[in-house]
């Protein structure tokens, strides 16, 4: 006959009392473990959500970067280098530069080490009369792009125009009924149609391209050009850095950013990128605020539940000790010491704490997983499966449960030990 045996027998005899006490402990432990588990699950969910959003943002940013790169490839967002003395009002009105500059400027740029533009396209551009066809066209003398020697050479963006050939814009080719391979007279020369472009919806449709030296010869401007296009500019949108860099190399030029509508599109792309970033930051803030809210709630609820548990279990313990007065009096009469009586009462508290703590732990883990699953199914289920079982937390919860229960029962146990057995046995 020992204390554990007596404890189990007494529990079996007063099942309801034990169940009520264990339930209170289970609720307190469940709240404690459930709250911490829910917080852990919330953090895991946040990590997964943030990972998804970061991937999404990265995808958006990558798409934007690709769009911007392609915008460069469209020859739309480039820098146009003109002679310094070219009047821009006239340039925009006539769509070509009347002033000219040395063709060697291109080579100086290519050899200079500018790292902001990938290709340089020298051209001689004029609006001319095609006498044989009685058409006014835009004529561009081009020798293809000059690759930037400080960049890895790549496949040319713009195919050069071979000598004694002509490339036609869509409207020209269509209206003059010319196709690739046809021979045509152009300002007294016989040229072969090298290629016709598809419709672009720009002045390119009424443009013809010929070999630059042949254009220079036509206009008696050997070694002269009136424009250089810097392609695939990797400078900041405003082009300030590139402009400054180029103007440093060629002091007698002026640099113009081209395709403002594309710049506007780039602005909106960048804004979209910024918005994606801001959305990510908002999501982070929202999750952080949510966590703070949960923590604040926990900081209030957990202590309240613990206190309620201590009070309830203490009341039940006091009631139990009162109900066992005669039994305790008898044990004292039989010679059981006061400290042993305390052990007898606290042994039951230990059983209540362990039972309630274990039940509460399972309740806490299960409840938290269920709550998280309600919030966000897929992520929660994954998180729940990975984080549900936390032996350290269960151990801490069990210890806390036992501690609380013993604390609650301490005073009733002392009262039981100090009760005068003589009074009990006399029936007073």
């Amino acid at each position: 006959m020992n204390i554990p045996f007596l404890t189990l027998k007494e529990i079996a005899h007063r099942k309801l009392h034990f169940a009520l006490a264990a339930l209170a402990v289970a609720l307190a432990t469940g709240t404690f473990i459930g709250s911490l588990t829910f917080l852990n699950l919330h953090d895991r969910q946040t990590d997964l959500i943030m990972l998804e959003k970061e991937k999404e943002t990265e995808r958006v940013m990558a798409d934007l970067r690709e769009e911007m790169r392609k915008a460069g490839l469209d020859l739309s967002h480039n820098l146009l280098i003109l002679p310094k003395n070219q009047n821009l009002k006239d340039f925009y009105a006539e769509d070509y530069a009347r002033e000219d500059m040395p063709e060697e400027n291109v080579d100086r740029l290519a050899e200079s080490g500018i790292i902001v533009a990938r290709h340089f396209l020298p051209s001689l551009r004029r609006r001319v009369e095609w006498p044989e066809m009685k058409r006014t066209i835009v004529l561009i003398g081009s020798r293809g792009q000059v690759p930037n020697l400080y960049k890895d050479p790549r496949k040319p963006l713009v195919q050069s125009v071979p000598p004694e050939t002509i490339v036609l814009g869509h409207e020209l080719a269509h209206s003059l009924n010319l196709k690739e391979g046809d021979q045509t007279a152009f300002m007294g020369r016989e040229l072969t149609v090298h290629r016709t472009h598809p419709a672009r919806g720009t002045t390119d449709d009424i443009t013809a391209w010929i070999y630059l030296p042949e254009a220079q010869a036509l206009f008696n401007m050997q070694g002269r050009i009136n424009a250089i296009l810097a392609l695939e500019c990797m400078c900041p949108i405003e082009g300030v850095t590139a402009k400054q860099a180029i103007e440093k190399i060629l002091p007698d030029i002026q640099v113009i950013e081209m395709g403002t509508h594309i710049l506007a599109r780039q602005d909106s792309r960048n804004r979209a990128g910024q918005e994606a970033q801001e959305a990510l930051e908002r999501a982070v803030r929202a999750r952080r605020e949510e966590r703070i809210g949960i923590q604040t709630l926990m900081a209030i609820v957990i202590p309240l539940v613990m206190i309620a548990c201590v009070v309830w279990v203490g009341m039940l313990a006091y009631q139990n000790v009162k109900a066992r007065s005669a039994e305790i009096g008898l044990f004292r009469a039989l010679g059981v010491s006061a400290p042993r009586i305390v052990q007898l009462v606290l042994a039951k508290a230990l059983a209540v704490g362990l039972t309630g703590g274990l039940a509460g732990g399972l309740l806490g883990f299960g409840g938290a997983a269920r709550l998280a699953a309600g919030a966000q199914d897929e992520i929660a289920l994954t998180s729940a499966a990975e984080t549900l079982w936390n032996p350290a937390l269960l151990g801490a919860g069990l210890l806390a449960a036992v501690f609380l229960t013993v604390i609650s029962t301490w005073i009733p146990a002392l009262l039981a030990a100090r009760r005068d057995p003589a009074l009990v046995l006399k029936g007073e």
Binding site: M1, A12, L330, A333, L334, S337, A422
Partner: protein
């Protein structure tokens, strides 16, 4: 003298008044003696029994049991002494409600472990004709069976002093006679039996009757 009480006084100090329950009472009881203490209600019979049982410290005077003053011991020593030397039988039986007959008889082993406790409990169950009720809880027993269980419990450690407080108070005549007979046998076996009783029919079964009134022997 196995039980030697000298000038025993017990006074209770209440909020309103001080009550002298026992006043300078002296008595003795020898081994093998069956002594009854009789008297009207409130005369101090139970108080005398509890004082002899080391459960109620005298206000003054001395109680010697087997030559030892238990109130000179520490509470733990006194508890051990009580477990070893004294067996109690109460009017209300005071059986532990969730223990079986067998387990109730073993209850004193909580205070003082006994290697042969189970064998001793079995022997006592047979002695008091409780064998067929071994696994029954007190709520399933008759009053007579409960009291015989209490008697068996009191004898687990084979104490030298048996203190019985109105042992037949809740029993019918037949069961009362059985309990008295058992107490009589215990005295014959050499134990000192001190019984508090109202039961006049039991008084002719004892060796000596002490009458108490107003806290004094008359």
């Amino acid at each position: 003298m196995f039980l030697d009480i000298k000038e025993l006084s017990v006074t209770f100090k209440g909020p309103a008044e001080t009550v002298k329950v026992l006043e300078r009472l002296s008595m003795t009881a020898d081994k093998g003696e069956f002594v009854a203490v009789a008297g009207p209600s409130g005369c101090g019979k139970t108080t005398l029994l509890l004082a002899c049982g080391t459960l109620l410290r005298p206000t003054s005077g001395q109680i010697l049991i087997g030559g030892e003053d238990p109130y000179a011991l520490s509470p733990e020593q006194r508890g051990a002494f009580r477990a070893d030397a004294i067996g109690f039988v109460f009017q209300q039986f005071h059986l532990v409600p969730y223990l079986t007959v067998f387990e109730n008889i073993l209850a004193p082993s909580v205070a003082k472990p006994l290697p042969t406790a189970e064998a001793r409990a079995t022997e006592l169950m047979e002695k008091f004709q409780l064998g067929q009720r071994k696994d029954h809880v007190p709520s399933a027993l008759s009053a007579g069976e409960k009291q015989r269980t209490a008697l068996a419990r009191a004898l687990l450690h084979n104490p030298d002093l048996i203190l019985a407080d109105e042992p037949t108070g809740n029993l019918d005549k037949e069961n009362a006679a059985i309990v008295i007979r058992h107490l009589r046998e215990l005295a014959r076996e050499g134990k000192t039996v001190l019984m508090v009783t109202h039961d006049e029919s039991a008084l002719d079964k004892v060796d000596r009757v002490l009458r108490l009134d107003g806290g004094r022997l008359i």
